[in-house]
Symmetry: C2
Subunit: 213 residues, 2 copies
């Protein structure tokens, strides 16, 4: 049985893991919640509370063992293993995703890519040959895939998500600018720079109206 851990806590753990990996790479062996908090602009209390969901870490007044906590977080998050990822949509954005160098070193291997455009099918991107989208279901029946990345136009995105879900994929990273629907047992994350910018313009506008002469 697992305690119900808030999703915001789960979302922060990879950030902690990345900071600990940086510290380990610099040869640091111990870090206080204070110092970790300063690295990440969060309070030490929040770090301690987030970690408390998973047991007891660190000794009062002595900080956390960097390697020990990193290993534990990697195990909790499952980022100590290799994950098989398929990419659907190999337009300009999909190509950039396929060729992004940041996934492989973190254990995320793009094992297949799919597109409907005959000009793209058969091309090499990021080390895989683009397959036709009609082969998606058969591929997913025959091969283990853990995560689906959706980089198709907005109008196609929900139907691609549905196909991934029906094929048993439990985690979807959606780059299309829609709120895609998934069943409760499927996790989805949206990557949407426009929404991110739109949430910042509120603050720009407010600072102008309060600060301007």
């Amino acid at each position: 049985m697992t305690l119900e851990i808030p999703e915001v806590v789960i979302n922060r753990l990879p950030v902690y893991a990345r900071a600990l990996a940086d510290l380990a790479a610099r040869g640091e062996t111990v870090v206080s919640s204070q110092a970790l908090g300063e690295m990440l602009d969060v309070t030490p209390a929040q770090i301690r509370k987030d970690l408390s969901y998973f047991g007891r870490f660190g000794k009062q007044g002595r900080g956390y063992n960097v390697q020990g906590l990193l290993a534990k977080l990697r195990e909790i998050l499952g980022i100590d293993r290799q994950w098989r990822v398929c990419l659907v949509g190999v337009g300009r954005l999909g190509q950039a995703i396929a060729e992004y160098g940041g996934f492989g070193p973190q254990g995320f291997q793009i094992v297949a890519a799919f597109d409907a455009n005959p000009d793209v099918v058969g091309k090499q991107v990021g080390g895989v040959t683009v397959r036709h989208i009609d082969d998606l279901d058969a591929y997913l029946r025959a091969n283990r895939v853990d995560i689906g990345i959706v980089a198709v136009p907005a109008s196609e995105a929900q139907s691609v998500v549905d196909r991934l879900v029906n094929a048993g994929i439990k985690a979807i990273l959606n780059y299309a600018p829609i709120t895609a629907h998934v069943p409760r047992d499927v996790t989805i994350r949206h990557i949407d720079p426009v929404l991110a910018m739109q949430s910042m313009t509120f603050y720009i506008k407010r600072s102008e109206s309060s600060g301007a002469k």
Copy 2:
């Protein structure tokens, strides 16, 4: 004076605005919080509570006026105007960002791009000529820029963020895989697909261990 509105609320408003724009495009004139909630997988109560920070919208039992609420949200968020964006880092990722077709229609115009690589400087990307990074500060003194997009390698990212902040930029969209630091009066959003995937593997792993035979 502005009420202190939680950041999570501000972050949801662009999602509401996008759904309302979709409804308007389909010719819908009225929407209930129930129907809007179903579109977005949030509860009607949350929608009503989020909107209540900004005044009274909709009439009890009659739903929201789609065009009216959309116009109001666009005004609140400042997405009813044009925003000037500069891009720093025009490697593979930066090129994909510069050529992404989704920013312009939403009022985000990339007005300048910068890189340190002499092979890239002088090239055209997304309608602008890439300038040398050494010209960043002079450019920002001479031209209004509202938002800076950072797409440089992790090792360079904090120093680029600092330069943007020192030049008076109040909003930064960071694609580099670091937790960049900014002063309190600057807003920053991180776009990080690796962290998003790492937060999903927790759930995949958990469902395997609870659901597997």
